[in-house]
């Protein structure tokens, strides 16, 4: 029961972070602040969701898998945010 409760709370928190990230992406005025909002929100969001789901896992392997998934997503999101920000700075912003 405690596990289920933890899942409820943590996944709800994760969802909130995702929604916050999306709202930031939609509402913030310029590219860089949008980038800023987004990287924080989606990483924490996925983290909380993975953590919440972790309380439902049946084996250690699944738990380890979840941890790895989060770690990989963090690595990818961090790298991408850095690189895209640099690319956006380096190139003239052409509008399509």
């Amino acid at each position: 029961m405690m596990a289920d409760l933890a899942t409820y709370v943590l996944t709800a928190l994760g969802l909130v972070f995702f929604v916050a990230g999306t709202v930031g992406l939609l509402r913030f005025p310029d590219t860089f602040s949008r980038l800023h909002a987004l990287t924080k929100a989606d990483n924490l969001g996925l983290g909380f969701i993975a953590l919440g789901i972790a309380f439902q896992t049946e084996t250690w392997a699944q738990l380890a898998m979840l941890a790895l998934i989060w770690a990989l997503a963090l690595l990818a999101a961090g790298t991408v945010a850095q690189l895209v920000a640099r690319a956006a700075l380096a190139t003239t912003q052409e509008e399509e």
Binding site: L68, L72, L75, T79, Q82, L83, E96
Partner: protein, 309 residues
Amino acid sequence: MTLALDLALCVLILGVALASVAGGGVFRAVIFFITYGLFVAMAWARLGALDVALAEAAIGAGLTGVLLLAALGRLRRMNATSPPHRTGLHLPAAFAGAALACALGWAWFALPAPSPPDLGPVMPQSGVGNRVTAVLLNFRAWDTLLESIVLLAALLGVWMLAQDKDWTAPLGPRYHAQAGGVLASFGRLLPPVGLAFGVYLVWAGADSTGGAFQGGTVLAAVGLVALMSNVMRPPRVSQGVLRAALVLGPAVFLCAGLLATASGGAFLSLSPALAKPVILTIEVALTISIAVTLALLVIGASGDGEYAP
């Protein structure tokens, strides 16, 4: 609740597809198409087709995106002109598309009750527990063998697009990255994880989700990261080892098929006792070839670095 989830997913898929076909701008279309692969992978997960979801995730949401984005970059640097206006086929094409969609929709409701072949009785003889792997590498091995050769033909076709003067140059662009930078660290961190995961997929594919194609695609993707971050150098066509790696999978597959003929069985047949080790051997060889072929398909022909300033 289930219905709502599936409906939402279908709406997203259709919306993204519509945006990538009908919206303006090529770059936007490509980005929408990248997200499309992700949603389709979810649809496969909902349909219970895990192996397909894995293939779609690795190919649709991974490799195709890099392929298209790199092509757009090349087109832009060549200052290739975009078409001035729509083709005259606009209305007939819309009509044909609508007719096709309606015909398929009608056919769905007209389908008789399903009568799939029963794989249950023959599964024990296949040597593997995953039905999809059994179909791919045993029951319909001839399809899979031909498909691995299709990959090779496509790569050969891409190589033939090089200019004669560039023929001996390394394949693809001349990637470079700042030493110790973010990209280079990414290129160092990801490949070991991907390698382990790819090997796991091939190994696990015999009895659960995975297989040579999925494993090969994952390996190709991390190989690409290593190439793009300059951790690994792209090869040249003239390297015998490279060409050997490319034909290894089909060659081992053909050998196994012909050995079966030589020992009195049908072409490509596997005796139940030996089926598992032979399938695993073929899968390992196929994975290597698929990984190398896919990575090279994405980076393109030799001499693509000629636009360096």
